[in-house]
Symmetry: C2
Subunit: 380 residues, 2 copies
């Protein structure tokens, strides 16, 4: 039975389950309170001002972003404390300065002397003290200095002596996405904590300031048991969660708040294929579960109420065609789904799937209440 | 040396090489003339009215689209003959009718009785004869009836007797994307031709009309040597081409007209990693070369003029970080690329990469001429 509220929706489109999203948000904000750290949610997953009101403390608190476009949209919406969590380069500093002039404190991230010199130089030229965090690497995942790298103090001194602000240190334990189970995530979280605390100690021992000690990734943020020495926690995808996070045990499938509503448009009966109108354009090309214990294809197929249909996944995707078929491990009967049936697909990676769409249809937590529409933006 | 025209661009962003794009367009339109068929380019790759003027015959000729949003935008731009090349369902017929009422002839695609009945019923209810093609399957790739399936004539009769228009048959040899080399593509093209010609004969033998016999995929469209019995050729990605098409020999790397301009934002020197600001959000998650003979990661790295840098590819991507490193097969020296260096990345899959952006910066074929800006849209 199709939900009558979905009958006017043009598929494919994004659905958000408000009750699940709120539960996800409260779980982590409660945990941050228990740990005694502030929470700086990453808005790169939702990219929506309406969603940000749910996610941020008091609807307006500290935020992390992944693009200057996000910083500009959220600054225009009144958010005044933003961390741009991707390494800065000289050509982006004009927009950072403009945001400061508009009253938004944007902190930048860096890990080398050339970046620190660019930030210090721009600070002096603009007469604005740009705050900067030094990125620390705890697991070889991507960017950042090793906490015992002498360049750490050198970079800190360039900032302080050059007229910028050394705000502290930041670590993102991205390697935790490849670790399975709570025990593994607890270890990643402790490794992340030790790296930044060691780096903060090194800066302070050199006479440099380090008020902010920031950690976070969705798996480590939820698993951390003790954050002594840390001041701030970051996470992003937890707001929606997804099959990749479920696959590593960071959530359950029942926590996934984002899905793609799709309509059946055909069949290939000999192969037990059902063709639907959500292809990779609607799902994204993300195949994050391919490397996990259970490969969920392009996503788990649910009925239009969001209840998974046993054994059905999207096995392949073309641009505007999704092929729904039996999971190779499933031996039971699978249902016939006539043309025009609406289904929901739970995605591998919420950040990637949401990015394919320009808005969300939100299913309110009150049973039967009308859908809400939230905007979403992209770009740089 | 950075192209001075790129100094004001915010990275990551899309670049189009106008000269290469025009060469790609002319190559296929000349081939269609030689084969004696009309060309109905697929606009799903570019999704741009400005690009459509280059691609379509006389800037305005017959087009194929993959979404109703494309049909609506291109109809509003004055294009009057559009094939919606994805299986139709009842809930989408209101928008098809509205397009017809606005003066645009939109042909739908279907392969089962339920769809034919819905199209016939909508035709009668609206007093508009909706034209429909029956999809034929030549290679088990996705949708379509086998040319000898008795349902073919049944579906045709439902359309004709029910008040819709049976326009003909269509085949898309999507399996050709997995075939390597010109000889293999020639065989796929002949298989595609034989399937639709057999289907057209079956319809005509049953006393049904079949004026349109449509084939196409980028590899088969270029490889076809004889299209006897076919009236129309379709292709899409050839306008830009990409590494997947180069990997199967459907083009050379020098034909690729689309790239992502990116800026270096950091390094991990011990690993010879260069970090840039084009992550998967800018490149898409498409890893289409992963299954090919040469895995190009997330793309081939070029200097800002578009010349490939030997041995450098984007080996991994996070949301807003690309990791540039040595191709595992390359043994030579790789250059140091300082922070703020601009680079271009050639993508695996032009349709997917372009879809991550809201516009194109076009490098004109006249040396040194100012960049042009073309819009691009998405959605459904």
């Amino acid at each position: 039975m199709t939900d009558p509220r979905f009958s006017y929706l043009q598929t494919p489109c994004l659905l958000v389950d408000e009750a699940r999203m709120q539960r996800n948000i409260h779980r982590l904000s409660d945990h941050a309170v228990t740990l005694g750290v502030s929470l700086r949610p990453h808005l790169k997953t939702t990219k929506s001002v309406e969603a940000a009101r749910y996610v941020l403390a008091d609807g307006n608190g500290p935020a992390t972003v992944s693009t200057l476009a996000e910083a500009e949209v959220f600054a225009a919406a009144g958010i005044r404390d933003i961390l741009y969590g991707v390494g800065i380069c000289a050509s982006k500093l004009d927009r950072i300065i403009a945001l400061h002039r508009a009253g938004c404190r944007v902190t930048v991230l860096l890990d080398c002397a050339a970046q620190a010199e660019a930030v210090a130089s721009a600070s002096r030229a603009a007469g604005i003290v740009i705050p900067a965090l030094i990125e620390i690497d705890s697991d070889g995942h991507r960017s950042g200095l090793s906490p015992n790298d002498p360049a750490l103090v050198e970079v800190g001194r360039i900032l302080v002596n050059g007229g910028a602000e050394l705000t502290g240190v930041l670590c993102h334990a991205g390697g935790s996405y490849g670790s399975v189970g709570r025990d593994a995530h607890v270890k990643c979280a402790e490794q992340e904590r030790l790296a930044v605390v060691q780096a903060a100690d090194a800066l302070r021992a050199a006479g440099l300031p380090c008020p902010v000690v920031s950690v976070g990734s969705t798996p480590t943020a939820h698993a951390a048991k003790d954050l002594t020495g840390v001041t701030e926690l970051r996470a992003g995808v937890y707001v929606f969660f997804d099959l990749v996070m479920a696959g590593i045990g960071a959530c359950s499938v029942d926590d996934i708040a984002l899905s793609v509503l799709t309509t059946v448009i055909g069949h290939q009966k000999e192969r037990e294929w059902t063709i639907c109108d959500a292809g990779w354009m609607a799902m994204s090309r993300d195949r994050g579960t391919a490397a996990q214990r259970v490969d969920q294809g392009y996503g788990i197929v649910c009925d239009s109420a969001g209840v998974p249909i046993p054994g059905l996944i999207m096995v392949q995707a073309n641009q505007e065609h999704g092929v729904i078929a039996r999971h190779p491990d499933f031996k039971g009967a699978i249902p016939t789904l006539p043309v025009d049936t609406q289904l929901r697909i739970l995605p591998n990676h919420a950040c990637a799937t949401a990015a394919q769409h320009s808005g969300y249809h939100v299913v309110p937590k009150e049973a039967g209440a009308p859908l809400m529409k939230w905007s979403r933006f992209g770009g740089w």
